[in-house]
Symmetry: D2
Subunit: 337 residues, 4 copies
């Protein structure tokens, strides 16, 4: 089969090769991959700035993949040939806390990912793709969309009517606007671009703040909420912005620190934190049961993933390059293009 | 002011009178009532089959009322004159558990209700009416709609993608279809009428079961859910139907026993209950904080209350009679008609 | 190895045999059993009144076993040879809900149990025995003690200071007294025997009610709690007693219906249920993660399992007969006796 | 009556005076104060470093007071004359979130506190003193002890068997050792003094770390927990210590930032936070319902408050001075001394 392998750090070490189709064990399934999507994490792995010590070259990168089951192990009861499935990144995190003595194993990092014609998945690390989604759409979910669901639903116990602040319009933030508004929340979005804020409104944001016009955006948030603040903040900036986020919160509000932030060193004024009785919650994707819940929910709520550009399998490097320079929505590789 | 007073049990003892406008204390507001809606509870009070021992004649009946603030007590900070507000039935149940030593005080029963031109409400037992609702619409919420929210959100912690079974198309059940589907749940509705099931679909039900065609409707529920069952049942039948409800549940599912049921004596097979690890939860409306949450949510999610007939203030007895014989949707009294 | 096999229903079909030591797969461990304890469930299985349709003869009965790891599968990382371990009854219920499409597999029923010199356990269906417990003590935990923890902690979210009603002094109830009081609850116990009530006090009960002297024990509970009622009831009676239990509850209290009750048909007055906003929760043991939590907790809190009689391996039938006629505390079989 | 009033910032502006006994309104009680205890907060108020803008001179300081009810308002049903009661600091925070539009009102700051012979309390801001406590003991609870309960129980949902790290042996930390171990947790305490660590063990700590001997105490925590880390940290240091706290946590562990810390500016590495999926929770005492729960719990669990020195009413300034220079345990003023 055809596959892209990362042989060392650096995009020039991503090589297309021909290798044998992988074999599955009794608890695994073999999936014919139809589409994968990229995340910042994937580019960080290639560049050696994400868990470099855990990686063993060569390996097949990219965690987010959708396709069709073509073979099942003898113990597998959940899936059958022909089922449309999507990968779950943390292959051994089923529910609750991961098993105490095991590290989290991750597709496209410590375990081979989806950038190959066929891919091995554990029965317990796979979900059914949402019924009305194409594989291209389903491939956008496992990291960027699911982390929003995991934050708001599993940690945040979000209720319709809650207020959610979304920073910017990156891949996670676009999904945050869509998911939070589909769950009945009132969404406030910040950006430096009025054009992007217009798009944010089309995607479900009720209120928007151009932080160039309002550098004190946290005060603007308080103003837009009649001094009540927001219950949830999907934090993707970090650094000194955390202090502003605390000011924008409602009493007992939640800041979800999600994945890679622009600035991973935050200065937090603990007095503000305790006066607000605020919570800062670190989040790194989520567990399999919640991803199953999310995919089941997508059969009921309407989320139309925003896709910037679709590349072909042979254009994998162009896809990475596009991801690195930024996009409005997801970068996808369509294996049938 | 004009008011209807109940002087003794029986609808013939409901009398329209002229009395002085009531006075408020420091923590209360005076509301000019624009609309009230009726519930089975209101007719049961008139007929003396609901908490008759707690009632002291005469009193003004009906718990659900919407209108405009015309006067505020000196301690009141939450409301100002002109605010559009709706009543909360349990006037002393603010949050969590009611205060241990206090009975629950209820509008239109132990405390004067809304069937008068002006009405006294505690600041802590009043909510802002949803912004986009008329007073007629808002008056339908405090009992029939809110009890569904309280069940599914406060007790059931419902998530988008959950499955909800709604029995029949009475007042509570119609709201259950609308609220559950607006929260992203998959709704299954039962009825003996195909016509009503069609309406249920229009209101948001994904799947329907005519229990005349399928007396074993619990098996039909399992079939429609691929053998998984439903996470939530809004139980309005009771009696031997509870046993069927348990069979229709998913593992660890919830049955919410809501208000007056057709049959208040249930025979429960405890073996089925424990094999399913099921929960039966008694529910009697809810507390003020959750009603505030619900009204806030209604600014974000679209619920268009189904109203069967609107009567004028002078037609109050006709409204009661209509409520007693049954309706599809709510019976409302519009004070400005 | 020596083993007891059940060849058909009836204690006379329990036969001691010699068979080969079982083999383990990659994810399993082999345990040298040192002690097993009996539950009502074990006698019900022998008598064919518990899940008879799921059983396939012959099989080795009894779910609760403690011993020492003597062999581990190649994938096993959690345990090593020499570790002291205890079995977890539901071998495929790891956490949250069991996997949707799998039935619950249970040791000593659909899977071979512990009444043999060696026993195969899944790595994920085994826990470390509490450090300070003998194997005899640890073998009493998996059903009778754990179901109390699962009820009060996982479902009931018990807090120190809560009030717990325990009915009688059977195996589960004795553990309920000990566990609830160790968790800081105030325990009220009922019995028809003053002598047993004295023992209940020694085990941690704060207050006791002889229900022969007080047939209206639910009123006595209200009196002993200043009219507040109890937050939790460990229900082991069922039938018409459920109605009394509801009366004994605090507002929003919980009744845990645990395992086999004296009377599995309950008549529930739903009006009482909803006026109290009470919950009836069916419970059937629990999942592996919670059993791990419980064993970890036993290293910190002092629970000294009450053991009525210890039999030798060859006396297995006498142990069953004792269990069938009732005991104060657990019946254990010590393989080294 | 005799009272101490703060007339301006600075301890020299704390003056003993004679004033009229205060009057109560319908929802209040008058309490004859028997004992008050001091917290760091009280000294910070005197020194003008805690909410100085909200204060209006003169006022009676100190939030934590216990005594006896001598008069009740006409609406008061919960208390009667002669009841032994303790104050709750946030007088308008009853449960859940404080009312949206109200600031938190605090005894001894925006509302007169307990340093006077008689004190006015709202019925809803008072709890019954634990039955077996003297007033001296009960007066130690409202801030330093309760904040630990609120953190571990309300936010942390602590279970027996959880691991708790307590930093140092200040007033809050001593209570944290006692409360966490009484709730069945395994407690690890750090200190620079072996002598204090010995006392910590006597109070319930299972394991101790001298951070002078082990400057990398976070690694020592991991070692003492077999690499699992602790589920809860009662954080009283702040600053760069937060980074170490994150390293000491278990996966999905909780850091409670409680009240005044040594260093209120924290530098948090967000990558560590998200890899651990850790939570940092700001906490500032708690609400009335939880304080009632805590006092009820103290009737069941044994916590013997550690009291450093008891002063007389006339020695109030000496008490403040002692509190300012530090103590092992609480500083109390006994009005009957």
């Amino acid at each position: 089969m055809k596959a892209w392998q990362l042989e060392n750090f650096g995009l020039n070490n991503l090589k297309q090769i021909e290798i044998d189709k992988p074999k599955i064990n009794k608890n695994q399934i073999l999936v014919k991959v139809n589409a994968v999507s990229l995340n910042y994490r994937d580019t960080a792995i290639v560049e050696g700035i994400y868990t470099p010590d855990l990686l063993q070259f060569p390996f097949i990168p990219i965690s987010d993949a959708s396709g069709e089951v073509v073979e099942i192990g003898s113990n597998v009861t959940k899936f059958k040939k022909g089922d449309r499935v999507t990968s779950h990144m943390f292959t051994t995190w089923l529910e609750g806390k991961p098993k105490g003595d095991e590290p989290l194993n991750a597709l496209g990092a410590t375990v081979n990912g989806g950038l190959s014609e066929y891919m091995v998945l554990n029965e317990n690390a796979t979900v059914f793709s949402p019924e009305n989604y194409t594989d291209i759409q389903a491939s956008t979910l496992p990291v960027a969309a699911f982390v929003v669901w995991f934050s708001l639903v599993e940690y945040g116990n979000i209720k319709a009517g809650d207020r959610v602040l979304v920073q910017g319009t990156g891949g996670v933030s676009i999904f945050a606007i869509q998911i939070a508004s589909a769950l009945g929340a009132e969404v406030i979005t910040t950006s430096s671009s009025d054009e992007k804020l217009e798009k944010a409104k089309e995607l479900g944001a009720s209120k928007v703040i151009n932080y160039k016009a309002h550098p004190d955006w946290e005060k603007e948030v308080q103003k837009l909420t009649n001094g009540k603040g927001v219950e949830h903040i999907v934090e993707v900036v970090g650094g000194s912005s955390i202090a502003k986020s605390i000011e924008a919160l409602a009493f007992q509000g939640n800041i979800y620190v999600i994945g890679f932030l622009e600035n991973m060193e935050a200065e937090v004024n603990l007095f503000s934190l305790l006066a607000k009785q605020a919570r800062i919650q670190g989040i790194n994707v989520g567990h399999h049961r919640a991803f199953e819940d999310f995919n089941k929910a997508l059969d009921q709520i309407n989320i139309d993933p925003v896709i910037d550009t679709v590349y072909s399998f042979d254009q994998a490097k162009e896809a990475y390059e596009h991801q690195m320079k930024g996009a409005f929505g997801k970068i996808v590789i369509d294996f049938n293009k």
